[in-house]
């Protein structure tokens, strides 16, 4: 079996994946399709997937991570391990915030908040309006106020997105759809849909606005209101991926988010009205 290799970067982290299994490689290609190809003599994270005694083995930098006879399970373990190890490798250069990040005119809008607050729906809406994609989950902030891309595929967890149909997504010609399958803990095969935006931003860009979305259910009245920086810092501290004490997360957010960054709470019932109100309030760069 021939070994195949992928080499790419996420922020300043160099990553190489060598894989001997064809089915596993296909899934890993899909999971890593949006990252910036880059060669490293000595990558920070060096993943290898190979066969040993009839099982596939996943290791990273010589540490054993997972063994299985199922290629999908190895791909799923790789994905989780990739995110965890990348987050562990940032050091002090990057603060990783749980946020979707999209850009227009070289300016980034961040949507940050807890799971199910509507970040990915708003990011998808912005992408359908022609924005460039940086991330749906990891906004990488540096201390000069820039956001670095971490363009993992958009994953909705379910076959259907609550706000957008497959037809709508595909008709836009702004996304490709792919998938990979893996067994859950009971052995049931799950299929994860991956949406790959066509327009991916590669360079770090300055933050333009920070939105704290709150999906209030269909029919709810859309409201956009500025919020105090200290209030936002308190709410966002649990959304920092690195494991800092809460006071340290607050201090770092204050340091890494530009002092003059507009911060708003967006309560919305549908993404179209949310888009309109963001435009009305001049929060859409260049429009």
């Amino acid at each position: 079996m021939n070994s195949q290799q992928l080499s790419f970067r996420i922020g300043h982290i160099g990553i190489r994946v060598k894989c001997e299994d064809v089915a596993c490689l296909e899934a890993i290609h899909a999971l890593c399709a949006l990252y910036e190809p880059s060669e490293f003599a000595k990558p920070t994270l060096d993943f290898r997937i190979f066969s040993d005694a009839g099982k596939l083995v996943l290791i990273c930098n010589s540490d054993s991570i997972w063994k299985s006879d199922d290629a999908g399970e190895i791909a799923a373990a790789f994905e989780l391990s990739l995110y965890r190890k990348v987050a562990d490798s940032w050091g002090a250069q990057i603060l990783s915030l749980h946020a979707a990040a999209v850009a227009a005119c070289d300016r980034v809008i961040l949507f940050s908040g807890a799971s199910d607050s509507g970040k990915s729906s708003m990011a998808t809406k912005m992408l359908l309006e022609g924005f460039d994609y940086l991330s749906d989950e990891f906004a990488l902030l540096d201390n000069s106020g820039r956001v670095h891309p971490f363009p993992r595929p958009l994953q909705w967890g379910k076959q259907r997105h609550p706000a957008f149909t497959h037809k709508q997504m595909l008709a836009s010609n702004l996304f490709k759809k792919t998938s990979y399958s893996f067994p859950d803990h009971s052995g049931k095969i799950l299929t994860s849909l991956l949406w790959l935006p066509e327009r991916v931003e590669r360079k770090p860009l300055p933050a333009h606005a920070l939105i704290l979305p709150q999906f209030i259910g269909r029919g709810g009245k859309t409201l956009l209101e500025p919020i105090r920086r200290s209030q936002a810092l308190m709410e966002l501290a649990p959304e920092v991926h690195q494991q800092f004490p809460a006071t340290e997360s607050i201090r770092l957010l204050h340091e890494y988010l530009p002092d003059d960054l507009p911060i708003f709470r967006l309560r919305y019932g549908d993404s179209d009205s949310a888009w309109r109100i963001l435009k009305q309030e001049n929060l859409i760069p260049g429009r």
């Binding site: 209030q231 308190m234 204050h254």
Partner: protein
Amino acid sequence: MPLPEQPVKVSGLEYAELEGLDETICLDTEDGSSFSLNATAIAVLDLCDGKRSHEDIAAIISDSSGAGKSQVLRDIRAILEQFAELGLIYSDQE
């Protein structure tokens, strides 16, 4: 709950001072709640040691700020009432 005569600050509070903002974020590590306080409120909270009365606290704040003692005392009581509502102070007297 009546306002404690000699209030005590609860344990487990941590502060995050934010450069350039006139606020300090206060975290209650017991329940995970957080709130922002201005510099005067933080000073008052730190003076709640279970020994000082409202008048003692007001005198210290009045001396450092130069504001009139009676007005400061009214303000201190209002701040302490908010602290009591937030569960930031208690009385350790029977």
